[in-house]
Symmetry: C2
Subunit: 240 residues, 2 copies
């Protein structure tokens, strides 16, 4: 199967969670919007798929994965679909349901980290909601960042291995790597302060980063840098 | 299969989306936390399951569904699990992936409607973030409420029937009913103003409400009233 990923081409964003699975799973895929517009790529490729009235299934937003005739939306849904096909999730149904639940908690964690810099509206610039962002950031750092990282530490401990599901890698670990890398970029002071409490998560980050296919991908031009246009953003005043 | 639902007993909340599917699907189930504490119910029943170290799968938050030995977390994950078992989703994989994507968009819609009254932190009272809530509410009503309802109107139109997936009912319609009922409670003025643009969604709401099992459930004491403790809340100043 040759997959087509549709996602905005200028940021890592939610598309990156899908890319990491495609890369680790050695899938054959095209990152459509990264192609030049002259070759059917760019932002117009995403807009076109979103507005394709020939598709009886109407998607809401990217990332979207085209797999044959199916167009799959939402990061966690795409990863749940790819997991078994790329050997990135155990076979047992109970483990798959658990993996998907973990991925949906990651979705919530990423969204809360995003909303730190956009607590009022996505349609406004950060600078136009900065006072609210400063207030939200304190609660995020002291309550939510701690709660989510504590939770995932417990998940690893409970599993009895080094990965979220135990002794072997799953797509959820690739996503957790991306969460940790993004948090280290956006909230370096807070993450340094938590160091002793997130030893398992830091070890998981390093394990994933050292996998040959992931290391090769991260060193390639396909891996865009973190930035203040992305989901998690480094504004020093929000990482006090 | 006798299911056990675990959810906070004092609100409809996210548990209600699961209850509607269990009711329409005539599932055998126990709403555990609605039992008296003396019979193993109440909030302690939920806390106990969250802290059960004998479960190798650690959940983050309710709602949780116990199905045999499996403990399934996240509303959309639970509904995806129940759908085929209760005859509430088509058999074809593409349709199921689409249904789950729609449910995840509903998750996002509900969360944004919730964050209107809690834009800074869940740990604060509404009164302590009211000025930020007033600002966020304007953007929600004018941008997000319109965008989400337009989207789901298009979904129904595209499907060629009266339901989100076309000509037959799925669990996603039950959830959409709950979204519309909650919005009508929380934002009555805004919803009245949108009336001409959400005719299909209003018709879907009425279709679901008239189904015998749903009508019977809604008239029963098991259906708690909407309130300002729930996910969507009626504060007239936020519905200006």
């Amino acid at each position: 199967m040759r997959y087509e990923l549709y996602y905005w081409p200028h940021i890592q964003g939610r598309g990156e969670y899908v890319r990491l699975a495609l890369e680790e799973g050695e899938a054959e895929y095209v990152d459509v919007a990264r192609l030049p517009e002259s070759e059917g790529g760019g932002r117009p490729a995403v807009a076109k798929l979103l507005q394709d009235t020939a598709n009886k299934y109407q998607p809401f937003a990217p990332p979207l994965l085209k797999a044959g005739k199916a167009v799959i939306s939402h990061t966690a849904n795409i990863l749940q679909y790819l997991g078994p096909r790329l050997g990135l999730v155990p076979k047992a149904e109970a483990a798959r349901l658990y993996a998907h639940g973990l991925q949906l908690t990651i979705t919530d964690f990423v969204r809360e980290a995003h909303d730190v810099h956009h607590p009022i509206a996505n349609s406004l610039y950060y600078e136009d909601q900065k006072s609210e962002a400063l207030r939200r950031a304190g609660h995020f750092r002291n309550e939510r960042l701690t709660k989510f990282t504590n939770y995932f530490e417990t998940v690893i401990a409970r599993g009895g291995g080094r990965y979220l599901l135990g002794k072997s890698l799953s797509y959820v670990d690739l996503s957790m790597f991306q969460v940790m890398a993004s948090l280290n970029y956006a909230f370096p002071e807070s993450m340094a302060g938590l160091r002793d409490k997130i030893a398992r998560l830091n070890a998981l980050h390093d394990l994933v980063a050292a996998r040959p296919r992931i290391a090769r991908y991260i060193a390639s031009p396909a891996r865009l840098p973190f930035s203040t246009h992305d989901l998690m953003r480094h504004y020093p005043e929000l990482d006090a």
